[in-house]
Assembly symmetry: C2
Homo-oligomer: 322 residues x 2
């Protein structure tokens, strides 16, 4: 079994290959190359490869499936950044900020089609792989729309929030694992168990992300309390509103509209998160979904020692400090 | 053989089926339904079906291929309209104008994935069909980028212009025919001949469009001379610049910057088009590509009477007055 680090390095070479896109039209493909050169954790393509390696040595078509997943993921990032009006991605200007709106829209479009083209080089279980990919791609769009809709709503429930993060982020992680397994010729039961592992892991990861944004130690390039300042309806926020007394609710509403005292706003909201036990609820939810994830991983009917890499990657993702 | 009109009507029912998209998230799928309800000529899906019928009765998978093509086409329209800042499409507000930028970007994205999902219901020659679809989709993006690039260039050659319209519009018409034939189980030679027919027909059609925009009788809802007023570098414009004497060139350049006298601008530019024989060059090019198209259609090795529908559709497209 190859390590996460080694797979990332090998994948990085493929995703930065100069012939991944044509040279012309340059105004279309330079932005695509630029975004992919900014790196990223490459978690999705690498878990695809790791899932594949549970059942068979990594072959060319597995690399293509992994590439398809990473291209698709980057396509969604490009378009999400436009919708979110985000100036930065991975610490560098986003495509639309650097090259303009046209480059962002068309570059994303082209990247999504190149994702399908890479996927088309898969042969083993191709129809199933394509079905998973299509279904997942639609779910990611649905999740993004829900996320946008939530911005203007004040009545989002925890269940709706979990559904949104599940669609927007978890299903692609889940599909990466499932596709890796299918391309290796794994049976349906194993592929499904890996999918469920990834889906629960993704939800736990996102909830942990919400928690760390508020209570984590400071990260390089990411502000602690950033979600609070952006008035994001995170799991913490939703839980706080759900369990707030009327005075706390009034306080939350008052802070929503204030942008003049960022430090005080973060401190006040963190206090409310603690007082309403939203922090504890969030930690419990992380534990619940993590537990589910590891349960599903144990159901994959292959020797436990083969799963060590995936197991430790999941732990790294969940038990990080920042 | 079914008539164009009858196929349009049957296709219209499928493309307006209430369950084509899910109900939720409504802010994602309402805009998609809206755009498809505005109609359009449905030429691409219907020629796909007509090409199919040359070789076999139309079956369910052919309808799905046709649907995939129309969804893909509409996805490109949605995103092109954003890039072109177009307020209207088919006489009604564009998606981004009516529902906002997010709806335009995400609605287009979702529609492109639904296109792939519809295509995935094809079984006959599926790998070939998917390859044609992917290649074509990338070419359409390349063509759109070239079109955008041309806006800020003054040295576009006729050859580049033909390449751009070929990529941006003709290859999808060509692919529609080829995919229809492949899904019917046609042999490669026939499918390729139909592709070449569609490609030349598409180029002839676009050049004819350029010509009619300047010299056609007035169209409902479309201004004669609209391309001139928008300073579009059409085939007429490029030919005029190529063959202009220095005084004519100076006149063209002077008119480019003037927006105060639209009627005089159109009249002056039409005179220049005539004086430089750009009009004749354009008609010659239409005749050349039309001739090529019909030549290719005659190469499709099936009885000529079976091709009557496609033949007459091509004539209708080329010999229209407006």
């Amino acid at each position: 079994m190859q390590s996460f680090r080694s797979l990332v390095q090998q994948f990085e070479q493929r995703v930065s290959a100069p012939d991944l896109f044509p040279v012309h039209p340059q105004n279309l493909y330079d932005p695509c190359r630029y975004l992919l050169s900014l790196g990223g954790k490459r978690i999705r393509p690498v878990v695809c490869l790791m899932a594949h390696e549970l059942f068979a040595p990594i072959k060319e078509e597995a690399w293509n499936a992994a590439l398809a997943i990473e291209l698709f993921h980057n396509f969604t990032l490009i378009h999400d950044d436009i919708m979110d009006k985000a100036p930065l991605r991975r610490g560098f200007p986003t495509i639309h900020a650097k090259y303009g709106l046209t480059a962002g829209i068309l570059g994303g479009d082209a990247m999504s089609i190149y994702a399908y083209q890479a996927l088309s080089r898969v042969t083993t279980n191709f129809r199933e792989v394509l079905d998973v990919f299509n279904t997942t791609a639609i779910q990611v769009c649905d999740g993004q729309q829900m996320d946008m809709d939530f911005e203007s709503r004040n009545d989002v429930s925890s269940e709706e929030y979990i559904e949104m993060i599940s669609l927007k982020t978890s299903v692609l992680l889940a599909a990466s694992l499932k596709i890796g397994a299918l391309v290796a010729g794994a049976d349906t039961q194993a592929a499904e168990a890996l999918y469920a592992f990834g889906k629960h892991l993704g939800i736990a990861f996102q909830l942990q992300d919400d928690y760390l944004d508020a209570f984590g130690t400071s990260k390089i390039g990411k502000q602690v309390g950033g979600d609070i300042l952006a008035n994001k309806k995170t799991y913490l926020h939703i839980q706080a509103v759900d369990h707030a007394a009327s005075t706390q609710l009034a306080s939350i509403e008052a802070w929503q509209d204030r942008h003049d005292a960022p430090e005080q706003k973060v401190t006040a909201m963190l206090d409310i998160f603690r007082d309403t036990q939203a922090d504890e609820k969030c930690r419990e939810a992380v534990a619940y979904y993590s537990g589910k994830a590891f349960e599903k991983l144990s159901e994959v009917s292959i020797p436990e020692d083969k799963k060590a890499n995936l197991h430790s990657l999941a732990k790294d993702l969940l038990y990080r400090e920042q």
